[in-house]
Each structure stands twice: as structure tokens, then as C-alpha cells.
């Protein structure tokens, strides 16, 4: 998709987070190029076993690697250069070597996930406001929102919640003045230039434009999230009737 940047070399800064994690910061802010570095790194972590590593969390421009500091120390107690180093130094040396070998072009193809959305009506009570705010018709807002190609930069904040990039500024709308006490799971909203889907019922101030019948958080499945960092998302409009049918017979 971006041939010019498909083979970037990576480098990263390592910062200790207490004695139990290290922040691998790639720099470059919220940008698809930065994301490709993050993704290349986590794909390596997914396919290799690093002794002492517990798990990682990837974000916009960083990956946080959690590790068992006692185990890391113990595993390297006979290592000539590293045995006297603190555990984050040991982890950093190992991770730095991995980062230096990474090429962003090596990554897997992004998964494309299609998300049906019933726009407007009871399920999207703020759709008309979003249209009015942007001097568009309701149908234009639906077209713009459902024609976008969105990238899941990261999953966090709530289980299964995707931080999405790629929404058109033509439909960007500030948060509501007064947040709602609860927002139903599946609600699709806009806050500023961001769009997102609420996986679980939470309070929130996003402008709600519709709702998906798909469950984004799936506690009885592994992974428990429909979406993963690196996925690409397409929303497509469905009718209220189709929404009800999906709800009755989930796909």
C-alpha cells in the first residue's frame, strides 16, 4: 500500500518502567509509518519465545514489554557482560538487538474486518447533530463514515476498544457538553477527529451515530477482542431490521 516506506529500518529508545516492564519507544507520533514499526516488532514477539517475558502492550508509537525481573536476572547470572546489570538493561540489550534487525516490509498483510452499523435513529441519537454541525445531510455523514478505511492503531482503555485512525475531518465533531451516564455496548461514536466503537457499556461523551450488533469484547474467546492492533476496519450501513436479525443470530 505504501511502497516507498515498506522497508524502513527501525530504531527505538528503551525506558525502564519500574522493575517490571520496559517501554520500547519508536518515536514518530500517531502515523501509519510508526505503526508499521510497532507492528513489525510485535509480530516478532508473537513468533518468538523470550524467556522471562510475560506479555506486551502495543500503543501508537510504543510497545511496553512486561517481564519477570527475578527470572531475567537469574537467566543471565552466568553471562559475562550482563550478569551485574539491572534487569531492564538486560531486557533492553536483548530487545535492542531485535529492533535493529527489524524491517517493516517483512510484516504480514493487515486483516480487514467489516463492521455492520445501523446508523441513526434510537441507536445513533447524535447522527443528526453531527450532520448539522458539519453542514451535511445525514446520508452524507453515513456515506463519509462508511467509506473510510480505518486502521486499528491500538486496543486499550477498555477491553476490545480500538483506537482508530483514518476518519475524515469532514465529519469531525466535538464531544458532547454533558456526557451520558451509560452508553450501550456496540455504540459507534465520534469525538473530535476520532471514531470508535464502545465494546462494553460505559459512561462517555462521544457523539453516537449508530450501533453495531457485533460483540467487540469476547471474554469466552481467545483472543477476547474482535479487533487487534494492525487490523483495518470498514463500516457498512445496515437497516434496523438487519440489526435486529444480527442480534438474534450473531455471525
Amino acid at each position: 500500500m505504501h511502497p516507498k516506506t515498506s522497508n524502513m529500518k527501525c530504531n527505538a529508545t528503551m525506558l525502564p518502567l519500574g522493575e517490571s516492564a520496559v517501554l520500547v519507544e519508536f518515536g514518530g507520533g500517531i502515523h501509519p509509518d510508526t505503526h508499521r514499526k510497532v507492528k513489525a516488532f510485535t509480530e516478532y514477539l508473537d513468533s518468538h519465545c523470550l524467556p522471562g517475558m510475560i506479555e506486551y502492550v502495543s500503543a501508537f508509537s510504543s510497545v511496553t514489554v512486561f517481564y519477570d525481573s527475578l527470572m531475567v536476572k537469574q537467566l543471565h547470572q552466568d553471562h559475562v557482560e550482563l550478569r551485574k546489570e539491572p534487569s531492564y538493561r538486560i531486557i533492553s540489550v536483548i530487545l535492542q538487538k531485535i529492533v535493529a534487525e527489524l524491517r517493516t516490509g517483512d510484516g504480514q498483510e493487515a486483516r480487514i474486518v467489516e463492521i455492520p452499523v445501523c446508523y441513526g435513529g434510537e441507536l445513533g441519537p447524535d447522527l443528526a447533530y453531527v450532520a448539522e454541525y458539519n453542514k451535511l445531510t445525514v446520508d452524507e455523514v453515513i456515506d463519509i463514515h462508511s467509506m473510510g478505511d480505518y486502521l486499528v492503531y491500538m486496543v486499550g482503555f477498555a477491553p476490545g476498544f480500538p483506537y482508530l485512525g483514518g476518519m475524515s475531518e469532514k465529519i469531525s465533531t466535538p464531544r458532547r457538553q454533558s456526557p451520558r451516564m451509560t452508553i450501550s455496548a456496540g455504540s459507534v461514536g465520534i469525538a473530535g477527529v476520532q471514531t470508535g466503537v464502545y465494546p462494553i457499556p460505559t459512561p462517555g461523551g462521544w457523539q453516537l451515530i449508530g450501533r453495531t450488533p457485533l460483540a467487540l469484547f469476547r471474554p469466552n474467546e481467545n483472543p477476547p477482542s474482535l479487533l487487534q492492533a494492525g487490523d483495518r476496519i470498514r463500516f457498512y450501513p445496515i437497516s434496523q431490521q438487519e440489526y435486529e436479525e444480527y442480534k438474534r443470530e450473531p455471525i
Binding site: 525502564p16 518502567l17 510475560i54 500503543a59 539491572p86 534487569s87 486496543v155 486499550g156 477482542s225
Partner: protein, 314 residues
């Protein structure tokens, strides 16, 4: 089975946490006080990560249908077994139809009740821990209510003997604690004056503290510029300082990612001390190193080994 006669203020089933799913936004949860909960398990001969009851502030009342071996560790909720005082940090037998009653914590804030075999609830994403913000795990994903019936599982590891823990392994809870902090990763977003304020002042635990974190109140910690960062992972013990300048320390149910500057982290070894403080208690911070943090963890591991050895029935 064990019936909940009174649930207490905030009682949940917890094990040592739901690790491995933070990349999907799932909080870790698990016992707030890692030490007291694991020692309670060791005292009854359980696996260290068996599910226990975590009571907060004021404990509950429980009726036992069958005889059970139990241990109570952590804050002193002045437990009574059939109206007779029990001692904390000890292993004892609750007879058939026995009633175990807890009151308000006279010291500490969180108390753990372990039964031999652990509490049996469905495993969700590898753990029995309750995550109330997400409404999963534990007993129906929520705090216990009056009438809830709990079942005993099979997470025991060895025979155990009745008795009390040696004094050296029993923490003393105070209303003023000092916590050791490793700086980073955004400590440079604060000036040296702000760090002096943080390390030189006493911060009060507010009533807005819960299992997601400890919200503190005290002298404002000023950022040099912006208080926000691009969202990234947070972790147990991380000290986040939003624009209002009041520190927030992440605990068991914390969200996985946030967008506020983090000044540093409370070392793992001092988290049990933090979570036994209650609203109104005072916290001071001292700058520490990874070396100290590792030493504290090693000492804790050694305690577990010694306690397990001492409890084991030969």
C-alpha cells in the same frame, strides 16, 4: 458450601490476576495485596494462586455448611468465629455450621479469607479474579451480595498444620507509610521543583480510591508544559499525574492504556503496603533504584518459601 449472610463493603473473589490479555485492553485484576493473599493460601496448603475472598474496609459474615480449614490474612477486621475472636495470619478450623463474622478493619484496609481448596468459580481468560469494571470473573463478575453461595475447589497443594505465622512475616500496618519510587518514563516532563514537591510532601489517600487506583491529594505537582502524552501502556504501581497535578497510583483493576504523564512507579515490593492504606491515611515517597526493588522482591520470594516450608505437615 459457604453462604454470604452479609457481604461487607466491597467483597470479591480474587486470585493472582488475569495476565496475558492486556494487549486486548483487559485489566489484570487479582488480589490488591499480593503478599497477604498468597500467605493466606500457603497457610491452608493451597497453590499460591488459588482464589481467595478479598474484603475491603468492612468485612462480611459467612456461614459454613461443612467443616473447612481457613486462614485470614491482611487487615485486622476483628474476625469472630461463632462469637469468639480469631487471630489473623493463622490457620484454623471452621466447624460445620460455623459462622465467621468480620467487622471494620482496625488496622490495614484489605483482608483475605482463604479456604483449603480455594473458591471455585468459572475460570475466565485464565483466571478466577473478579473484574468489576468489565463485569467478568469471580462470582458473576460482581461484588458479593447477601445470599450468594460459594463453593470450595481443589486448588490445594500439600497437607498443612494449624497454627500462627511467625511474627517476622506479619506486616505492621500504619496510617502513614513511605513508598519507594523508581522515576520514569516521563519524569522529565516535570521540573526539579515539582519532583522536590513530590518527594518532600505528604499525600492523603482520598475516598475516590478503589481497585483501579489510589487517588491522592496534596501539594500540586506542576508539569513543565503539557500534561498529556500519546496514549501508551500503564502498569501496576505507575504514578500518573494529570493536568490537575494530583498523583494517581495504578492498582489491580487499572485500565491498560492512558494518555497522562507518568512520573515514576512504586516498586512492586511496596504495593502491599500501599493497598493496606485507607482514605485519610498519609503517603510519602522516597526515590529508589531497581537494585532495591529487586532486593525487596527476592526477600518476598524467600518469605514465601520459608512460610510454605513451615506450614507443611511432614
Amino acid at each position: 458450601m459457604i453462604t454470604t449472610i452479609e457481604p461487607g463493603l466491597f467483597t470479591t473473589i480474587q486470585d493472582q490476576g488475569r495476565w496475558g490479555f492486556q494487549a486486548y485492553g483487559m485489566p489484570i485484576s487479582g488480589a490488591m495485596d499480593r503478599y497477604a493473599s498468597q500467605v493466606a493460601n500457603l497457610l491452608v496448603g493451597n497453590r499460591h494462586d488459588a482464589a481467595v475472598l478479598e474484603m475491603t474496609g468492612t468485612g462480611g459474615t459467612f456461614k459454613f455448611d461443612e467443616k473447612q480449614i481457613v486462614a485470614v490474612c491482611g487487615g485486622d477486621m476483628q474476625g469472630l468465629l461463632n462469637h469468639i475472636s480469631i487471630s489473623n495470619w493463622s490457620t484454623f478450623i471452621v466447624p460445620r455450621r460455623g459462622i465467621l463474622r468480620f467487622d471494620t478493619a482496625a488496622s490495614g484496609y484489605r483482608t483475605y479469607l482463604a479456604v483449603r481448596g480455594g473458591f471455585e468459580v468459572p475460570i475466565v481468560l485464565g483466571s478466577r479474579s473478579t473484574c468489576t469494571p468489565v463485569k467478568i470473573g469471580g462470582h458473576e463478575g460482581r461484588v458479593l451480595r447477601q445470599g450468594d453461595v460459594l463453593h470450595v475447589g481443589r486448588d490445594m497443594e500439600c497437607e498443612t498444620q494449624l497454627g500462627s505465622l511467625a511474627d517476622g512475616y506479619i506486616p505492621q500496618y500504619a496510617n502513614e507509610v513511605q513508598l519507594r519510587v523508581i522515576l520514569g518514563p516521563q519524569d522529565t516532563m516535570f521540573g526539579s521543583a515539582a519532583l522536590d514537591t513530590f518527594f518532600g510532601s505528604s499525600y492523603k489517600v482520598t475516598t475516590q480510591s478503589d481497585r483501579t487506583g489510589y487517588r491522592l491529594k496534596g501539594p500540586k505537582i506542576k508539569h513543565l508544559g503539557n500534561a498529556d502524552i500519546i496514549s501508551e501502556a500503564v502498569w501496576l504501581g505507575a504514578i500518573q499525574v494529570p493536568v490537575h497535578g494530583m498523583p494517581f497510583i495504578m492498582t489491580a483493576d487499572h485500565q491498560t492504556t492512558r494518555g497522562f504523564a507518568k512520573l515514576g512507579s512504586v516498586i512492586r515490593g511496596d504495593l502491599p503496603k500501599l493497598v493496606q492504606t485507607k482514605p485519610g491515611d498519609c503517603i510519602r515517597f522516597r526515590c529508589s533504584t531497581e537494585e532495591e526493588a529487586i532486593e525487596a522482591l527476592q526477600k518476598e520470594q524467600e518469605s514465601y518459601r520459608n512460610i510454605a516450608h513451615a506450614c507443611k505437615k511432614e
